[in-house]
Subunit: 213 residues, 2 copies
């Protein structure tokens, strides 16, 4: 059971990986696993795993290990994956189209409901059965369909006003792919994907490994 | 000067954001900034900023603040952005095409040199002046052109053997967009972008904020 204690974001950010591994084990028909087996698979120390999972209390049993299905379900609840989320994509350029074509999000309850752009050449285009709509129609759409999440894949310069509008229309979460840090009311949660930051981190790792040689 | 002390990855992962902010300040002609001003802009505590930047020793001067240009350059060196990297994209589906169309990577020294795919419908297609090549030609290309980084945007099931080949051909870094954790020799550095993990984290934040209301 998820306890009401505050869990650090560092732990939370590791949970999707546990969730994914446990899901893969379930698919293979594995019903229990020890922290040391999980450790070997995930390349994380067994002690880290026990510490992380102890945050949620009592999942493992000494000498038995973890019940894979139970743990998978509990992590799913903790992450809020036992609910469904309605999403729209704002900005249907290359990246927006790439994300629109992912079907793995839907399996986890993230349902794509709408696509919006300002570009007349994109409006009317259809991706996986959804037609790209004019961004002018977004306000009514978001309100009428109770959209939870907007994926922001639009040019950096356009992000701020769009995000502020979406926040005022009651959206709950923004998945932001632009290199802009948004300051918004607390009613809206933001998760940033800064691709260039990740690439710079890779550069650091390469440089760092050379220095060690 | 970058000291030879080992800096934690948590600090390293914050550096690209400093780098980006400082770059924006430079563009605006700002030549010095205090940690409290930087703090307000970046939404990070001033003490965190001082702590982070102290890792590299002596950038700030009491009562003067940080020299923006100097700090920007130093962070660039620490991250290894004072060098150039030759990249290829392996898997030119939607996401691969999106990344191929980014030109902001190039400005930071990450130069795209080749595109590879197995799909005959994609081979021969041209993106920003680069022709998609048959993956069979990748080994010679990587070796002859001393490619540093491969961006892996290919289906999950194909990633492992491709990554192992690239590692054996002397590639230095893999930027991996598939939900597969790679175990490779220490000569190759891996940076994962797990988009679904990020989306799950957003779900958690939404759930968590609801519980607090």
């Amino acid at each position: 059971m998820a306890e009401e204690r505050k869990i650090s974001m560092a732990v939370i950010r590791r949970l999707p990986r546990y969730y994914r591994y446990l899901g893969e084990l379930l698919e293979k028909g594995v019903d229990k696993i020890s922290s040391s087996q999980l450790s070997e698979r995930m390349n994380v120390t067994a002690s880290q795993i026990r510490q992380d999972l102890n945050n949620f209390g009592g999942f493992g049993q000494q000498g038995y290990g973890y019940n894979v299905d139970y743990l998978h379900k509990e992590i799913s609840k903790i992450l809020g994956l036992d609910q469904n989320y309605k999403m729209i994509i704002v900005g249907v350029g290359n990246l927006g189209q790439a994300l629109a074509n992912y079907n793995s999000f839907e399996k986890r309850g993230f349902k794509l409901e709408g696509l919006f752009d300002v570009n007349p050449r994109l409006i009317g285009m259809s991706i996986r059965g959804l037609e790209v709509q004019d961004i002018d129609k977004m306000e009514i759409f978001v309100k009428e369909n109770n959209i939870d999440i907007a994926i922001l894949t639009l040019p950096r310069i356009r992000v701020k006003p769009v995000a502020e509008n979406l926040a005022s229309w009651g959206i709950k979460g923004l998945w932001n792919f632009s290199a802009v840090d948004l300051k918004l009311p607390e009613t809206v949660q933001v998760e940033n994907v800064h691709l260039s930051h990740s690439l710079m981190t890779l550069a650091y790792k390469i440089k760092d490994s050379k220095e060690e040689q």
